[in-house]
Amino acid sequence: MKIDMSYGSGGKQTGNLINDIFLKHFDNKTLNKLEDAAVLNVSGNIAYTTDSFVVTPLFFRGGDIGKLAICGTVNDLSMMGAVPKYLTAGFIIEEGAEIETIDTIAQSMAQAAMEAGVKIVAGDTKVIEGKGGIYINTSGIGEIIKPGISISNCHEGDVIILSGYLGEHHAAILSSRMGIENSIASDCAPLSSIVKSLIDENINVRCMRDVTRGGLATVLNEAAEHSGCAIEICEEDIPVSKEVQGFCDILGLDPLYMANEGKMIAVVPVQEADKALGIIRDNKYGKNAAVIGRMMGGKGVILKTRLQGTRSIDVLYGEGLPRIC
Protein backbone atom coordinates (compact mmCIF):
# COMPACT_ATOMS: atom_id res chain seq x y z
CA MET A 1 0.00 0.00 0.00
CA LYS A 2 1.37 3.40 -0.95
CA ILE A 3 1.65 6.61 1.01
CA ASP A 4 -0.28 9.52 -0.42
CA MET A 5 -0.58 13.18 0.63
CA SER A 6 -3.37 12.43 3.10
CA TYR A 7 -0.90 10.66 5.38
CA GLY A 8 0.76 13.97 6.09
CA SER A 9 -2.36 15.93 6.92
CA GLY A 10 -2.25 15.32 10.68
CA GLY A 11 -5.59 13.55 10.56
CA LYS A 12 -6.73 9.96 10.83
CA GLN A 13 -4.24 8.52 8.38
CA THR A 14 -1.31 10.24 10.04
CA GLY A 15 -2.54 8.82 13.32
CA ASN A 16 -2.70 5.35 11.84
CA LEU A 17 0.82 5.67 10.49
CA ILE A 18 2.10 6.75 13.87
CA ASN A 19 0.25 4.07 15.81
CA ASP A 20 0.61 1.16 13.45
CA ILE A 21 4.23 1.67 12.62
CA PHE A 22 6.14 4.11 14.77
CA LEU A 23 4.58 3.39 18.16
CA LYS A 24 4.50 -0.31 17.42
CA HIS A 25 8.25 -0.45 16.85
CA PHE A 26 9.61 2.40 18.97
CA ASP A 27 7.31 1.65 21.93
CA ASN A 28 8.33 3.40 25.16
CA LYS A 29 6.44 5.22 27.93
CA THR A 30 7.53 8.68 26.90
CA LEU A 31 6.76 8.32 23.22
CA ASN A 32 3.49 6.51 23.86
CA LYS A 33 2.12 9.60 25.62
CA LEU A 34 2.25 11.40 22.26
CA GLU A 35 2.52 14.81 23.92
CA ASP A 36 3.77 17.81 22.02
CA ALA A 37 7.21 17.33 23.56
CA ALA A 38 9.03 14.63 25.53
CA VAL A 39 9.82 15.42 29.16
CA LEU A 40 13.12 13.85 30.14
CA ASN A 41 15.33 13.48 33.17
CA VAL A 42 19.02 13.85 32.51
CA SER A 43 21.95 14.47 34.81
CA GLY A 44 25.03 16.62 34.42
CA ASN A 45 26.31 17.99 31.14
CA ILE A 46 24.68 16.67 28.03
CA ALA A 47 25.90 16.19 24.49
CA TYR A 48 23.35 17.11 21.85
CA THR A 49 23.52 16.52 18.11
CA THR A 50 21.51 16.08 14.92
CA ASP A 51 21.99 14.46 11.53
CA SER A 52 19.95 13.81 8.42
CA PHE A 53 19.99 10.74 6.21
CA VAL A 54 19.25 10.73 2.51
CA VAL A 55 21.03 7.59 1.30
CA THR A 56 19.96 5.70 -1.79
CA PRO A 57 19.28 2.88 -2.15
CA LEU A 58 17.30 2.66 1.09
CA PHE A 59 18.40 -0.93 1.70
CA PHE A 60 21.92 -2.20 1.12
CA ARG A 61 24.06 -5.08 2.29
CA GLY A 62 24.83 -4.53 5.95
CA GLY A 63 22.10 -2.03 6.69
CA ASP A 64 19.46 0.44 5.64
CA ILE A 65 18.61 4.10 6.06
CA GLY A 66 16.93 3.44 9.40
CA LYS A 67 19.91 1.68 10.98
CA LEU A 68 22.16 4.45 9.65
CA ALA A 69 19.92 7.11 11.15
CA ILE A 70 20.18 5.59 14.63
CA CYS A 71 23.87 4.65 14.55
CA GLY A 72 24.96 7.94 13.02
CA THR A 73 23.54 10.02 15.85
CA VAL A 74 24.47 7.49 18.56
CA ASN A 75 28.05 7.58 17.30
CA ASP A 76 28.29 11.36 17.21
CA LEU A 77 27.19 11.47 20.86
CA SER A 78 29.55 8.67 21.86
CA MET A 79 32.52 10.45 20.30
CA MET A 80 32.11 13.21 22.89
CA GLY A 81 32.40 10.78 25.80
CA ALA A 82 28.63 10.68 26.30
CA VAL A 83 26.26 7.78 26.89
CA PRO A 84 23.51 8.16 24.29
CA LYS A 85 20.07 8.17 25.92
CA TYR A 86 17.28 9.71 23.87
CA LEU A 87 16.72 10.25 20.18
CA THR A 88 14.08 11.96 18.05
CA ALA A 89 13.17 10.78 14.56
CA GLY A 90 11.71 13.01 11.86
CA PHE A 91 10.54 11.48 8.58
CA ILE A 92 10.03 13.22 5.28
CA ILE A 93 8.28 10.79 2.99
CA GLU A 94 7.59 11.31 -0.68
CA GLU A 95 4.19 10.14 -1.84
CA GLY A 96 4.44 6.79 -3.55
CA ALA A 97 6.57 5.25 -0.83
CA GLU A 98 5.33 1.85 0.30
CA ILE A 99 3.99 1.54 3.83
CA GLU A 100 5.72 -1.82 4.09
CA THR A 101 9.03 -0.11 3.38
CA ILE A 102 8.47 2.37 6.18
CA ASP A 103 7.52 -0.48 8.49
CA THR A 104 10.74 -2.34 7.69
CA ILE A 105 12.80 0.79 8.23
CA ALA A 106 11.11 1.51 11.55
CA GLN A 107 11.72 -2.05 12.68
CA SER A 108 15.39 -1.71 11.80
CA MET A 109 15.57 1.54 13.74
CA ALA A 110 14.02 -0.12 16.77
CA GLN A 111 16.58 -2.91 16.68
CA ALA A 112 19.47 -0.51 16.35
CA ALA A 113 18.10 1.65 19.14
CA MET A 114 17.77 -1.35 21.42
CA GLU A 115 21.34 -2.42 20.78
CA ALA A 116 22.60 1.10 21.44
CA GLY A 117 20.48 1.41 24.60
CA VAL A 118 18.57 4.49 23.39
CA LYS A 119 14.89 5.37 23.31
CA ILE A 120 13.20 7.26 20.49
CA VAL A 121 11.08 9.69 22.46
CA ALA A 122 9.73 12.11 19.90
CA GLY A 123 9.08 12.17 16.21
CA ASP A 124 7.47 13.83 13.27
CA THR A 125 6.17 12.82 9.86
CA LYS A 126 5.70 14.91 6.75
CA VAL A 127 4.54 13.79 3.32
CA ILE A 128 5.59 15.68 0.21
CA GLU A 129 5.17 15.28 -3.54
CA GLY A 130 7.68 13.02 -5.16
CA LYS A 131 8.54 9.55 -6.28
CA GLY A 132 8.66 7.47 -3.12
CA GLY A 133 11.85 8.72 -1.52
CA ILE A 134 12.35 8.58 2.23
CA TYR A 135 14.52 10.92 4.31
CA ILE A 136 15.17 10.74 8.02
CA ASN A 137 16.49 13.21 10.56
CA THR A 138 17.55 12.09 14.02
CA SER A 139 18.69 14.24 16.89
CA GLY A 140 20.07 12.88 20.12
CA ILE A 141 20.96 13.59 23.73
CA GLY A 142 23.67 11.81 25.70
CA GLU A 143 24.95 12.17 29.25
CA ILE A 144 28.63 13.02 29.34
CA ILE A 145 30.53 10.54 31.50
CA LYS A 146 34.01 11.65 30.49
CA PRO A 147 34.39 15.39 29.95
CA GLY A 148 37.21 17.03 28.04
CA ILE A 149 37.28 14.73 25.03
CA SER A 150 37.93 17.02 22.11
CA ILE A 151 39.53 17.23 18.71
CA SER A 152 41.83 19.94 20.09
CA ASN A 153 42.98 17.85 23.02
CA CYS A 154 45.66 15.72 21.36
CA HIS A 155 49.32 15.94 22.40
CA GLU A 156 52.61 15.19 20.72
CA GLY A 157 53.48 11.56 21.24
CA ASP A 158 49.87 10.40 21.45
CA VAL A 159 48.97 7.29 19.49
CA ILE A 160 46.13 7.02 16.97
CA ILE A 161 44.04 3.85 16.89
CA LEU A 162 41.63 3.07 14.04
CA SER A 163 38.89 0.62 14.98
CA GLY A 164 38.85 -1.46 11.78
CA TYR A 165 38.69 -1.78 8.00
CA LEU A 166 38.16 1.36 5.93
CA GLY A 167 35.76 2.00 3.10
CA GLU A 168 33.17 -0.72 3.61
CA HIS A 169 30.06 1.45 3.76
CA HIS A 170 31.02 3.56 0.78
CA ALA A 171 31.98 0.50 -1.25
CA ALA A 172 28.78 -1.35 -0.33
CA ILE A 173 26.61 1.54 -1.53
CA LEU A 174 28.57 2.07 -4.72
CA SER A 175 28.81 -1.63 -5.55
CA SER A 176 25.08 -1.95 -5.96
CA ARG A 177 24.93 1.21 -8.07
CA MET A 178 27.78 0.17 -10.33
CA GLY A 179 26.72 -3.43 -10.76
CA ILE A 180 29.88 -4.82 -9.19
CA GLU A 181 29.29 -8.08 -7.31
CA ASN A 182 31.15 -8.66 -4.11
CA SER A 183 30.48 -9.49 -0.50
CA ILE A 184 31.32 -6.06 0.88
CA ALA A 185 28.78 -5.02 3.50
CA SER A 186 28.26 -1.64 5.09
CA ASP A 187 29.97 -1.45 8.46
CA CYS A 188 27.03 0.50 9.92
CA ALA A 189 27.21 -0.08 13.68
CA PRO A 190 26.86 1.66 17.05
CA LEU A 191 30.24 2.53 18.57
CA SER A 192 28.80 3.34 21.99
CA SER A 193 29.91 0.03 23.55
CA ILE A 194 33.53 0.53 22.44
CA VAL A 195 33.51 4.04 23.89
CA LYS A 196 31.94 2.90 27.15
CA SER A 197 34.57 0.18 27.58
CA LEU A 198 37.41 2.63 27.01
CA ILE A 199 36.00 5.02 29.59
CA ASP A 200 35.06 2.34 32.13
CA GLU A 201 38.63 1.00 31.97
CA ASN A 202 39.95 4.48 32.68
CA ILE A 203 41.72 5.05 29.39
CA ASN A 204 42.67 8.71 29.24
CA VAL A 205 41.17 9.22 25.79
CA ARG A 206 42.16 12.59 24.31
CA CYS A 207 39.85 12.59 21.35
CA MET A 208 37.53 10.32 19.40
CA ARG A 209 35.97 10.78 16.01
CA ASP A 210 33.81 8.57 13.85
CA VAL A 211 35.18 8.29 10.34
CA THR A 212 32.23 9.22 8.13
CA ARG A 213 32.02 11.37 5.01
CA GLY A 214 35.37 12.73 3.97
CA GLY A 215 37.07 9.63 5.28
CA LEU A 216 40.04 9.09 7.56
CA ALA A 217 42.07 11.75 5.77
CA THR A 218 39.59 14.49 6.61
CA VAL A 219 39.27 13.45 10.27
CA LEU A 220 43.05 13.30 10.75
CA ASN A 221 43.49 16.73 9.20
CA GLU A 222 40.91 18.13 11.60
CA ALA A 223 42.72 16.55 14.56
CA ALA A 224 46.09 17.85 13.41
CA GLU A 225 44.79 21.35 12.83
CA HIS A 226 42.76 21.74 16.01
CA SER A 227 45.39 20.20 18.22
CA GLY A 228 48.27 22.12 16.67
CA CYS A 229 50.18 18.94 15.89
CA ALA A 230 51.37 16.98 12.90
CA ILE A 231 50.26 13.41 12.34
CA GLU A 232 52.32 10.64 10.84
CA ILE A 233 50.59 7.47 9.68
CA CYS A 234 51.95 4.36 7.96
CA GLU A 235 50.29 3.00 4.84
CA GLU A 236 51.10 -0.59 5.80
CA ASP A 237 49.37 -0.24 9.16
CA ILE A 238 46.07 1.07 7.83
CA PRO A 239 43.52 -1.76 7.74
CA VAL A 240 41.81 -2.12 4.36
CA SER A 241 40.33 -5.42 3.25
CA LYS A 242 41.56 -6.92 0.00
CA GLU A 243 38.07 -6.77 -1.45
CA VAL A 244 37.63 -3.08 -0.71
CA GLN A 245 41.11 -2.41 -2.12
CA GLY A 246 40.17 -4.24 -5.32
CA PHE A 247 36.94 -2.26 -5.52
CA CYS A 248 38.86 0.99 -5.08
CA ASP A 249 41.31 -0.04 -7.79
CA ILE A 250 38.46 -0.60 -10.26
CA LEU A 251 37.02 2.87 -9.75
CA GLY A 252 40.20 4.78 -8.96
CA LEU A 253 39.09 5.51 -5.37
CA ASP A 254 41.30 5.96 -2.31
CA PRO A 255 40.22 4.21 0.94
CA LEU A 256 41.56 7.16 2.93
CA TYR A 257 38.74 9.30 1.57
CA MET A 258 35.87 6.85 1.72
CA ALA A 259 32.91 7.04 4.06
CA ASN A 260 32.42 4.61 6.93
CA GLU A 261 29.47 4.21 9.28
CA GLY A 262 30.92 2.08 12.06
CA LYS A 263 34.55 3.11 12.42
CA MET A 264 36.27 5.53 14.75
CA ILE A 265 39.67 6.82 15.70
CA ALA A 266 40.72 7.08 19.33
CA VAL A 267 43.75 9.19 20.24
CA VAL A 268 45.33 7.99 23.50
CA PRO A 269 48.56 8.61 25.44
CA VAL A 270 51.36 6.32 24.23
CA GLN A 271 51.64 4.45 27.55
CA GLU A 272 47.97 3.42 27.31
CA ALA A 273 48.00 2.45 23.64
CA ASP A 274 48.38 -1.30 24.09
CA LYS A 275 45.62 -1.48 26.65
CA ALA A 276 43.28 0.69 24.58
CA LEU A 277 43.95 -1.41 21.48
CA GLY A 278 43.13 -4.58 23.43
CA ILE A 279 39.86 -3.10 24.69
CA ILE A 280 38.76 -2.10 21.20
CA ARG A 281 39.75 -5.45 19.69
CA ASP A 282 37.70 -7.26 22.33
CA ASN A 283 34.58 -5.55 21.05
CA LYS A 284 32.77 -7.19 18.12
CA TYR A 285 32.93 -3.93 16.13
CA GLY A 286 36.67 -3.45 16.74
CA LYS A 287 38.19 -6.82 15.89
CA ASN A 288 40.45 -5.40 13.20
CA ALA A 289 41.56 -2.32 15.11
CA ALA A 290 45.12 -1.17 14.61
CA VAL A 291 47.54 1.52 15.68
CA ILE A 292 47.95 3.59 12.53
CA GLY A 293 50.18 6.47 13.60
CA ARG A 294 51.03 9.14 16.10
CA MET A 295 50.82 12.84 16.85
CA MET A 296 54.06 14.73 16.36
CA GLY A 297 55.42 18.23 16.34
CA GLY A 298 54.76 20.30 13.24
CA LYS A 299 51.70 20.49 11.06
CA GLY A 300 49.76 18.54 8.50
CA VAL A 301 49.24 14.83 7.95
CA ILE A 302 52.06 12.78 6.46
CA LEU A 303 51.75 9.24 5.23
CA LYS A 304 54.71 6.92 5.02
CA THR A 305 54.13 4.86 1.89
CA ARG A 306 54.74 1.18 1.40
CA LEU A 307 58.02 2.04 -0.27
CA GLN A 308 59.01 4.28 2.65
CA GLY A 309 58.44 7.45 0.68
CA THR A 310 56.37 10.27 2.16
CA ARG A 311 53.13 11.73 0.98
CA SER A 312 51.16 14.64 2.35
CA ILE A 313 47.48 13.86 2.99
CA ASP A 314 44.95 16.66 2.59
CA VAL A 315 41.20 16.80 3.29
CA LEU A 316 38.70 15.57 0.73
CA TYR A 317 37.96 18.16 -1.95
CA GLY A 318 34.52 18.21 -3.47
CA GLU A 319 34.55 14.64 -4.75
CA GLY A 320 32.85 11.61 -3.35
CA LEU A 321 29.48 10.71 -4.80
CA PRO A 322 26.10 11.97 -3.67
CA ARG A 323 23.84 10.24 -1.24
CA ILE A 324 26.08 7.76 0.46
CA CYS A 325 24.73 8.47 3.94
Binding site: I180, I184, F247, I250, G252
Partner: protein
Protein backbone atom coordinates in the same frame (compact mmCIF):
# COMPACT_ATOMS: atom_id res chain seq x y z
CA UNK B 1 37.49 8.36 -15.32
CA UNK B 2 41.24 8.54 -15.39
CA UNK B 3 43.19 8.31 -18.62
CA UNK B 4 45.00 5.21 -17.59
CA UNK B 5 43.19 3.76 -14.60
CA UNK B 6 43.11 0.12 -15.44
CA UNK B 7 43.24 -2.79 -13.10
CA UNK B 8 44.22 -6.45 -13.48
CA UNK B 9 41.61 -9.16 -13.03
CA UNK B 10 41.01 -12.82 -13.85
CA UNK B 11 38.49 -14.01 -16.44
CA UNK B 12 36.13 -16.47 -14.76
CA UNK B 13 33.36 -16.79 -17.33
CA UNK B 14 32.89 -15.88 -20.97
CA UNK B 15 29.59 -15.19 -22.74
CA UNK B 16 30.21 -14.16 -26.33
CA UNK B 17 31.58 -10.63 -26.35
CA UNK B 18 31.31 -10.33 -22.59
CA UNK B 19 33.08 -11.88 -19.66
CA UNK B 20 32.94 -11.90 -15.90
CA UNK B 21 36.17 -10.75 -14.34
CA UNK B 22 37.29 -11.28 -10.75
CA UNK B 23 39.29 -8.34 -9.38
CA UNK B 24 40.27 -9.20 -5.82
CA UNK B 25 36.88 -10.82 -5.22
CA UNK B 26 34.91 -8.11 -6.99
CA UNK B 27 33.09 -9.57 -9.95
CA UNK B 28 32.24 -7.27 -12.80
CA UNK B 29 31.00 -7.68 -16.35
CA UNK B 30 33.43 -6.55 -19.04
CA UNK B 31 33.54 -6.37 -22.82
CA UNK B 32 36.27 -8.54 -24.39
CA UNK B 33 35.92 -7.60 -28.05
CA UNK B 34 39.30 -5.91 -28.16
CA UNK B 35 41.28 -9.01 -27.16
CA UNK B 36 41.44 -12.75 -27.63
CA UNK B 37 41.14 -14.32 -24.25
CA UNK B 38 40.07 -17.43 -22.37
CA UNK B 39 38.88 -18.35 -18.90
CA UNK B 40 41.77 -18.20 -16.48
CA UNK B 41 43.62 -15.38 -18.26
CA UNK B 42 44.66 -12.29 -16.34
CA UNK B 43 43.51 -9.17 -18.15
CA UNK B 44 43.67 -5.39 -17.83
CA UNK B 45 40.27 -3.68 -17.46
CA UNK B 46 39.65 -0.03 -18.31
CA UNK B 47 36.17 1.56 -18.08
CA UNK B 48 34.40 -1.78 -18.39
CA UNK B 49 36.48 -3.02 -21.33
CA UNK B 50 39.42 -5.39 -21.44
CA UNK B 51 42.22 -3.60 -23.26
CA UNK B 52 44.93 -6.21 -22.92
CA UNK B 53 45.63 -9.75 -21.83
CA UNK B 54 48.47 -9.85 -19.34
CA UNK B 55 51.49 -11.81 -20.40
CA UNK B 56 52.83 -12.36 -16.96
CA UNK B 57 51.97 -11.81 -13.34
CA UNK B 58 52.70 -8.29 -12.18
CA UNK B 59 54.68 -9.44 -9.16
CA UNK B 60 56.75 -11.68 -11.45
CA UNK B 61 57.27 -8.74 -13.77
CA UNK B 62 58.59 -6.51 -11.01
CA UNK B 63 61.17 -9.13 -10.04
CA UNK B 64 62.23 -9.53 -13.66
CA UNK B 65 62.48 -5.77 -14.06
CA UNK B 66 64.99 -5.44 -11.26
CA UNK B 67 67.10 -8.30 -12.51
CA UNK B 68 67.31 -6.64 -15.93
CA UNK B 69 68.50 -3.39 -14.38
CA UNK B 70 71.57 -5.21 -13.09
CA UNK B 71 72.31 -6.54 -16.53
CA UNK B 72 72.23 -3.03 -17.97
CA UNK B 73 74.61 -1.71 -15.33
CA UNK B 74 76.99 -4.61 -15.94
CA UNK B 75 76.90 -4.02 -19.69
CA UNK B 76 77.73 -0.36 -19.15
CA UNK B 77 80.67 -1.34 -17.00
CA UNK B 78 81.90 -3.81 -19.62
CA UNK B 79 81.42 -1.26 -22.41
CA UNK B 80 83.40 1.41 -20.64
CA UNK B 81 86.31 -0.99 -20.19
CA UNK B 82 86.72 -1.56 -23.93
Amino acid sequence: MNMCVAVPGKIIEINGDFAKVNIMNNITQVNIKLVSTKVGDYVLVHAGVVIEVMKKDMAEEIILMFSELQEDADEDARASKR
